[in-house]
Amino acid sequence: MMQRMILLFAATQGVLLASAAFAADDPRVAQLAGEVAAKGWIVYAARSTENGTWDLFVMRPNGAQRRNITNTPDHEEGGPRFSPDGTRLLYRRFAKGTVIHHDLWGFQGELMIAARDGSAPVRVGADKEYPWASWSPDGKKIACLTMQGIQIIDLDTRELLRQFPRKGIYQQLFWSPDGQWFCGVANARIMWTVVRMHAETGELTIVQEFQSCTPDWFPDSTHIIYSSRPAGQHGYGFTQLWRSDGEGREARMIYGEDGCHIYGGALSPDAKYVLFTRCAQDGGGSEGAGAPICVMRMADAPAIGGPSADLRKVHPDAKEAPVLKLADGWEPCWTYADGEAK
């Protein structure tokens, strides 16, 4: 009996040690918090406790200096993206009371551009115009995903510079930092496929098939981060954070946790850290109040949170990973502009 208890204790300790650690008083978490504290800013959308609407917030990557930078009781805001130089923000503004749909938000509301602190907001287009707008590498243009195709728009003149077929891409279009590629979610062989498209030739490459979405670029423009709910799980399953190269090779889980759906995957500008949200409900929480934003070292991937017994069988190589749990939010984005640690 005693032997069995000792074995059980040892097994429990093993799981705990191999788990992602969230506790703020865990020295490994505290170390991570200190490491990222001065590394720029994170912008994200969250429900304001002051006015009840979705507003944009910034905080240091350790959660410090959090502040509401829009504070608009008459509008909802979401989907913020720093410009490549970190000086401006692109986001969408919705009518007050709009339910921000986790898949349709890029089609909803008005495209807005503001300074990185939220000041001087400019309404770029009318409701539903410039859908899924994403920055060009020089910040002078945007790429939009429309029914007619992918459109390149000059931000100063609003002139349509180029339009080409979307080839089945239907949401979440993002332009690579080097300008050579787009990523998005498409109907390829099957729906919910993450794809890469060459910006000049339109050549399409399947990156990850089956229940995969919310792709975004690594800073090197050769790797893509995305969420995926793999087959073979019990019941509905849980969405995990994954990465692949642009050819769809080297697919590797970054973070997974049975009981949580992982969305909002984004990288720090040097790709050393990864941002994501942990949500009990599928979809990322945009219809509700968001989900905890988390920071993890990319070097600690693949990592698994919680007991996640089934997931550990699939990924026996999962590492012990301190995970910094920050405020509740949705679609975070990270810049090192103004404050990178020296």
Partner: protein, 157 residues
């Protein structure tokens, strides 16, 4: 006089009966204001096959491509007898399927069953009229365009 009145009543009775029988026998063409005006193509077609399972997932919306045999073309041009039609969120009755992603779609059809006949207003190709997930189990088996169903009514064969 009485005999004459009885004869008249008999004529009226059989006239009404004949009209009722005639109305009851009139086939349901499925025609209504929407199906005869929306989109660029209108057909009456038999649903041959619903490949795979119709999903009912409240978190995700999609179009499911189904195979139809065209029985009559009412508007537009359809080059083939067998066509492929994307039906949006087919687990829902057509009058409850419209939403922000699909736009104006509808009809009086409650449930999709192979063998039934539908009158449909459509557009083609689907990608010019719909942006969303598509379950297309015919992918790679045919080069035929996929139609986008705007309005789907029940119809008699």
């Amino acid at each position: 006089m009485m005999r004459h009145r009885a004869g008249c009543l008999r004529s009226v009775f059989f006239g009404v009966l004949s009209l009722s029988v005639s109305c009851a026998k009139k086939p349901d063409t499925g025609a209504d204001l929407q199906v005869t005006s929306l989109g660029s193509v209108e057909v009456t077609a038999e649903l041959l096959e619903i490949p795979g399972e119709i999903r009912n997932d409240p978190m995700y919306d999609y179009a499911h491509v189904m195979q139809y045999r065209v029985l009559a073309v009412h508007r537009g041009q359809v080059g083939k007898d067998v066509i492929y039609v994307g039906q949006y969120n087919p687990a829902k009755p057509r009058d409850a399927a419209a939403d922000a992603r699909a736009g104006r779609i509808g009809g009086n059809l409650r449930q999709f069953r192979a063998g039934d006949v539908h009158r449909m207003a459509m557009e083609v190709p689907i990608d010019d009229h719909y942006m969303g997930g598509i379950i297309n189990r015919y992918f790679g088996q045919t080069e035929e365009p996929v139609y986008w169903a705007l309005w789907t009514n029940r119809a008699a064969r």
